[in-house]
């Protein structure tokens, strides 16, 4: 185990060196990054797949080291500052709790955040007692939750199979999820909710194995974990209901003596808590998800297309920035999903074939839930890769179990058969192939997850590049706004600056304001837009005239999305200097804030 720890630490260290190289814009950084990532996944996978026997403590060690190593990658990316926009929204909620000592405030950036305050309660409690910063306490809480999730998954599979090798392999496969390294460890509410989803499932699995009062007690524990999930994150609580439902459905395929309908009671109790919380406390949840549903149903896409068609007369230039990932990334993402689907089918068949032998409720339930990966693939076509990648976090909980069975059990079965030389050769190669499969899934996960390809490596500021678009200019400008300006002013800006102004600056950025920046002169229609959208301040990042948008767009609902082949002309932002009554109230050489109040006549 110490050898493993050292090897995985070296893998993460290689990534850290690659990140340092990327910050200095060196050419070797990207290749070195992939060497480090392959090391992180290949070493534990090979250890599990090549070794004849695995000690339980070694298996637990791998389940512990995997999330620790992946969290180190996140820390090495940005050790002192949050980089993801949603994290700043949760910082705002935490700030409000610390200043008022109460929950459920209004959040100008992420409306549901204060209504699911699990993450912020723990973080602010630690801040209160330790005097750490919110960032410091948040990094600790997110890290603990991330490691807890990895261990929980190990114990779920260990309870179901009783095999440390399969359990640790499941933990490694779970770590290949597209958002595992970053999104699932960010300072966001999902991070704290995932371990409680897994603890609820672990309690249910232990309930299946127990009898009488002990089984009832585990049922109560599952409901308690469900309650914490319900108050911590909406989507995670819905996914918990989905997994519990799969356990209920699994009963139908098992002999009567094996069935345990306590799980139905847990499902009903958890569903009641989730519904009660979302309808009585987190009342903004439905409104928050409405646009997402519209996208899935196709309404919003149609509306947006019409808008772009009406506004934009431009066509994509030869060098237009599309924001689409390179071919390698897309290919590996598809290969990864394909491998997961194939392994899921193999693992599912293994579980299904033995469903009538012994107590198999949990295994059949997880196997049924693993078929959800096909729904995720379907969702990718309808709602896009982002939603699919986020769903994979939850889909991989049961999928990692069946995939580990498919890879690990096959290996064990094969090692006993030595009748035919050809078969033996295949068996000898199997650990190599299985290791390559795990690494390929991991690479596909990284290419399909956050940070996007353009911000995968840290470095200087990029326009419209999520994690690479957060720097001291826009964060300090937003901090200034929070300290010096009244809250909730209407702000017009590019998407990323606007989002930081909302989250850190407590302002209210407007959508559909791109025209204000795309016109070369300040026209009457701009005036009308300002009045209609109640825009009090225009916040301009001057780099908008020097850098192309890496992700393909500058603004929310940008009519030029995917069409930009040159940055905006300087005249498009300089026009505000000459508008009568407009004051330039803030300037740091890069970010400029104009106050429009004086330009709007009282009439």
């Amino acid at each position: 185990l110490p050898e493993l720890a050292l090897a995985m630490a070296c893998g993460a260290a290689i990534v850290a060196v690659a990140f340092a190289g990327s910050r200095s814009s060196t050419s070797w950084a990207k290749n070195l990054y992939w060497v480090g990532q392959v090391t992180i996944y290949a070493i534990p996978a090979a250890f599990l797949l090549f070794r004849r026997s695995i000690l339980k403590v070694e298996a637990i060690g791998i389940a512990l080291l995997m999330p620790i190593t992946s969290y180190l990658v996140l820390l090495y990316y940005s050790p002192t500052q949050f980089r993801f926009l949603d994290e700043f929204g949760h910082v705002q909620t935490a700030q409000a709790i610390l200043s008022t000592h109460h929950l459920f405030h209004v959040n100008t950036y992420l409306v549901p955040s204060p209504q699911f305050p699990g993450l912020e309660i723990v973080t602010t409690a630690i801040v209160d007692v330790t005097h750490l910063s919110i960032t410091g306490a948040g990094l600790i809480v997110a890290g603990v939750a991330h490691v807890l999730a990895g261990l929980c998954l190990y114990f779920i599979v260990a309870e179901v199979t009783g095999k440390p090798r399969i359990s640790a392999l499941a933990a490694v496969i779970f770590a290949t999820s597209p958002h595992y390294q970053f999104f699932d460890s960010y300072f966001i509410y999902e991070t704290i909710a995932i371990p409680f989803l897994l603890l609820a499932i672990l309690a249910v699995v232990k309930m299946f194995k127990a009898e009488g009062r002990v089984a009832n007690a585990w049922g109560v524990v599952a409901i308690a974990c469900g309650a914490v999930t319900a108050v911590s994150h909406h989507v995670t609580s819905y996914m918990l209901l989905g997994l519990l439902f799969a356990f209920c459905v699994a009963q139908l395929f098992l002999p009567r003596p094996q069935r345990d309908w306590r799980v139905l009671a847990i499902l009903v109790a958890t569903a009641a808590m989730v519904a009660g919380w979302d309808l009585k406390v987190a009342t903004d949840t439905i409104a928050y998800f409405k646009p997402e549903f519209e996208i899935v149903l196709g309404h919003h896409t149609a509306a947006r297309s019409a808008l772009i068609g009406a506004r934009s007369s431009a066509t994509p230039g030869k060098h237009a920035v599309s924001g689409n990932p390179p071919l390698f990334d897309t290919t590996m993402e598809y290969v990864s999903i394909l491998l997961l689907m194939v392994l899921t089918v193999i693992g599912f068949r293994q579980v299904w074939a033995t469903r009538r032998t012994g107590r198999q409720i949990a295994a059949v339930g997880l196997a049924l839930a693993s078929l959800g990966i096909f729904a995720v693939v379907g969702a990718r076509g309808v709602a896009g890769p982002l939603l699919a990648a986020r769903s994979l976090t939850f889909a991989l909980i049961p999928v990692s179990f069946v995939c580990a069975l498919a890879l690990g059990d096959r290996l064990r079965q094969g090692s006993g058969s030595s009748e035919h030389t050809r078969k033996r050769r295949w068996v000898q190669r199997t650990p190599v192939i299985a290791t390559v499969i795990v690494v390929a899934i991991a690479i596909g996960g990284i290419t399909g997850g956050y940070p996007n390809f353009y911000s995968r490596m840290p470095g200087p500021f990029l326009m419209g590049a999520w994690e690479r678009s957060v720097d001291s200019h826009n964060v300090d400008a937003a901090t200034w706004a929070a300290e010096r300006m009244s809250p909730n002013n209407g702000v017009a800006s590019d998407f990323f600056t606007g989002q930081i102004m909302d989250a850190v600056g407590h302002q209210s950025s407007r959508r559909n304001i791109a025209d204000l920046f795309l016109s070369l002169e300040y026209t009457n229609s701009d005036r009308a837009l300002v009045r209609h959208q109640h825009v009090a301040y225009v916040v301009i990042d001057r780099r908008i005239t020097k850098l192309l948008p890496t992700g393909g767009f500058y603004f929310a609902d940008d009519p030029g999305k995917g069409l930009y082949s040159t940055p905006l002309p300087a005249v498009a932002i300089d026009k505000f200097e000459t508008v009568p009554g407009v004051s330039r109230v803030f300037d740091d050489g890069t970010i400029v804030i104009y106050a429009l109040k004086g330009s709007v006549s009282k009439s």
Binding site: A9, A16, L103, T124, I126, V129, F155, V214, P580, S601
Partner: protein
């Protein structure tokens, strides 16, 4: 009832540690010490007390899984406790200290009562869990050899070194050097206001001396522009704020330059004459 069984010894220890953490947190204002006592106070102790209360003899969960349940239960109790504090008095430092200490004491009492000696023939489970699987995969590490210890220290050294590298490269290569300047009418919503606040913040990464020029005037064609100059020395991160007055409608322009290069304006802000 008074026999000091293993569960009772453990919960007694938990109570003592919790009380110690609470007292240290109350008495000190040192963030390092507060962090050392605060993290287990919230992330381990209440959950460990709950686990010992529910399963005093380690028959349901043991070993690493017991640790996982202890940490998970701690976080869960803190979240549910936070919701309760929101209703009964607020999430303040004293309330947190009292709540967590009370939870640990109550659960410790339950664990003490339930932690009575087992009837003969029943054994408590300790260490790593017994497993139902083949003996080939059984095993524990009972001690760590010098070589293994050295490898673990090496792993920690690699992690620490990588973190230092990340901190250094992040601080040096990503550091932006700039100065912020602002001007806001007081109150902000009134562009006709006769008072305004102007200020600068130094983000240059080192102490700098700035020349600040304030030009007030030209509400009408006959008015003269009044220019005042101030020299401001600021450390990194420091802010200078100045209140200025003007006649209704007068424009104000503030420029900031380094004292070493006063002719090169770094940033400038202004208040325009509002339209009627």
């Amino acid at each position: 009832m008074t026999e000091l069984t293993r569960p009772r010894r453990t919960v007694l220890g938990l109570v003592v540690i919790t009380a110690g953490c609470a007292v240290v947190a109350v008495l000190t204002a040192n963030s390092v010490i507060d962090t050392i006592v605060g993290l287990p106070f919230f992330l381990y102790l209440p959950g460990a007390a709950l686990v010992w209360a529910v399963d005093p003899h380690g028959r349901r969960v043991s070993g690493w899984q017991r640790l996982v349940w202890s940490i998970g239960a701690s976080i869960g109790l803190v979240i549910l406790g936070g919701l309760a504090l929101n209703l009964i008095g607020g999430l303040t430092r004293p309330h947190w200290l009292v709540l967590v200490a009370a939870v640990v004491v109550v659960l410790a009492v339950v664990a003490w009562v339930r932690g009575s000696p087992l009837p003969s023939g029943e054994a408590a489970v300790s260490g790593f869990e017994p497993s139902s699987e083949a003996s080939a995969e059984e095993g524990r590490i009972r001690s760590i050899s010098v070589r293994q210890g050295a490898l673990l220290v090496g792993a920690l050294a690699v992690v620490a070194g990588s973190l230092v590298l990340s901190l250094h490269s992040g601080a040096v290569t990503s550091r932006e050097h700039f100065v912020q300047a602002w001007i806001l009418p007081q109150p902000q919503a009134n562009p006709w206001s006769t008072t305004a606040q102007t200020g600068i913040t130094n983000h240059e990464g080192a102490s700098r001396t700035f020349v600040v020029l304030e030009a007030v005037g030209k509400a009408t064609a006959t008015q003269q522009v009044v220019v005042t100059q101030q020299v401001v020395a600021l450390g990194d991160g420091q802010t200078w704020v100045h209140k200025l007055t003007r006649k209704p409608g007068q424009t104000v322009r503030v420029t900031v330059a380094l004292s070493s290069r006063p002719d090169q304006v770094l940033v400038s802000v202004n208040l325009a004459r509002p339209v009627s």
